[in-house]
Subunit: 347 residues, 2 copies
């Protein structure tokens, strides 16, 4: 934990973006606290997150490299509530670690207004995080065993871990519930799939996809048994689009899935989705074909990693729509004649 | 301050409403912590507040009377954010004071879900309020002096004090800004009204209309000089309705005001508005004719008395609309031939 700045009052130097901070000369922020504002833009598919989150990831390193004693950032979030958004960040071995903290959007607005009036701003920080050491996590795995193609896997799931501010209904209670419900309904209906349907509730997603990497490592000799799959980890909004990255052979079954879920309000998207979700991305990096149901995340980053991530934000009807789409996908993928959705040829 | 329950873990007894709590027998809650849920309903005119706020006002007395050691209530608010709403409450001389605290709506939901599952709930409260003693407040008064009818007053204003969680942009920075701007624009235009236009920025509204009562008392011999007026204290939403309580003689000028503000999207309401706003209500009680511009408060109780009451919640265009309506009202009232809008005949 880097908290040497606690209780020290220091002048605040404001930057508009991570790029502006990076343009500051080395050592130019000696003894200062930096603030970087860069208001995240709302998108339906959440695609702006990757761009804006770099400020949280890299802010401490970039400010520390230039001599700052701490850095504040505008929360990576789209709401206007007085709750900062937490999340993962990184240090670099060649830069002294300094504290980083996020301001809620209204507090960031206020700081920027003060600066715009020409006020000199100094801040005394008191941050109270503590490092609690390394603990063990785990992936929880459940299966509906297949019949004639039992060695082949269709894999779905959500992640079990979460930030500790809310009850984490949307990140990722929703994904866990949607995908567990899919297996429950198939089992309840007394149906037996040809391929094995594997549910993985991932551990330690938030701190760096540790469960995903551990899974890919543990199953490295049988990764190609994973025919297709996807993770539900973008809240509880309705699915509105399918993206995928599959071969010609799998196109008929994928198109049939798209046709069957269209009445749920879901439209086909591109065939260039390299990811099947965060915890499957280590497998995607090795060639696992991509498939995603894209949920409406217009309000996702209002709630993401805040105390506001609670059950009241979830519409049960939208959860039902997700379950229905996943059921179609899982059942079709587990029973079609297609076993190769696009793994590259073995080297 | 009543904090004897701090650190004591006690069983929670849930009630659906203040009426249900009142129906519990005396002494039936000995040693317990009560929780009363009663979710406030959203209305455009905010009229439901009077009904629901009784839970906050009377909750500690009603629970204490029955032997409870503390009471929790569902916040008097319409949002779904993890911020409880604060506000005024009362003790009674015949009941031992006990602590009262509000839960945010999502936390209240969670508590109620636990109870619905049949879980026995106990809570250990740690509350940290302190009584800081009596301090002096004040009303701030400014005037644009009148000409031939200078002794007659048209009175507007907002209140200066606020709860300490947010910056209180809507309660009541907006009302202060709207009514100050009205005087500024008249002055800037070089106009001189016939009657004196008095701006009062009220002190100590939140703790019981103390500024309003002090004003009515201080000016008790000249109250009838106050021809008409109104307070802006319902946020920064657009005005959509006029209500009033005036005599036949004032109807033509009031109707002319209504006609002039109609293009701003404002419709005439009833002639039964007994209040001219919280701080003028002590004068209304003595016969001061009522007049109010009713603002859209659909989101007012999302923000009211929470950390979320900040400037980003205000739409400048809505503020302009308010200023325009107040300008019409103030200028017409200050210059018409009508000096009697409906004070009752003197006894």
């Amino acid at each position: 934990m880097a908290t040497p700045a606690n209780g020290v009052e220091a002048e605040v130097v404001l930057f508009e973006s991570l790029a502006a901070l990076r343009a500051a000369p080395d050592d130019s922020l000696r003894g200062k606290i930096t603030y970087v504002g860069h208001a995240m833009k709302r998108t339906q598919d959440g695609s702006s997150y990757g761009h804006f989150v770099r400020l949280r990831s890299a802010g401490a390193v970039e400010a520390g490299r230039r001599g700052a004693i701490a850095t504040l950032i505008r929360s990576i979030g789209t709401d206007s509530h007085r709750m900062p958004h937490t999340g993962n960040m990184s240090y670099s071995s060649d830069v002294t670690p300094i504290p980083i903290a996020a301001l809620s959007n209204p507090d960031a607005d206020q700081l920027e207004r003060m600066a715009q009036r020409g006020q000199r701003i100094s801040i005394k920080l008191t941050l109270t995080p503590s490092y609690t050491g390394v603990v063990e996590s785990g992936n929880v795995v459940a299966e509906l065993p297949g019949s004639d193609l039992a060695d082949e896997l269709v894999i779905i799931g959500g992640h079990l871990d979460s930030w500790d501010l809310g009850t984490n209904a949307i990140d990722d209670g929703a994904g866990v519930a949607i995908t567990m419900e899919v297996l429950r309904r198939i089992k309840e209906a007394g149906l037996k799939p040809r391929r094995t349907i594997r549910l993985v509730l991932w551990g330690s997603e938030e701190v760096g996809l540790l469960g995903g990497y551990a899974y890919a490592d543990k199953h490295k000799d049988t990764l190609r048994n994973h025919v297709i799959g996807t993770e539900s980890d973008f809240g509880a909004g309705r699915i509105w689009k399918i993206t995928r990255n599959i071969n010609e052979q799998a196109k008929p079954v994928a198109d049939k899935i798209a046709e069957l879920v269209e009445p749920l309000g879901i439209a086909p998207g591109s065939n260039s989705a390299r990811s099947s979700g965060p915890d499957l991305s280590p497998m995607n990096a090795q060639g696992f074909p991509g498939f995603r149901f894209v949920q409406d995340g217009s309000d996702y980053f209002d709630l993401h990693h805040t105390p506001d991530d609670t059950l009241d934000k979830i519409d049960p009807a939208a959860m039902d729509q997700n379950v229905a789409a996943y059921l179609v996908f899982v059942w079709m993928a587990a029973n079609s004649n297609v076993s190769d959705w696009g793994w590259p040829a073995e080297q």
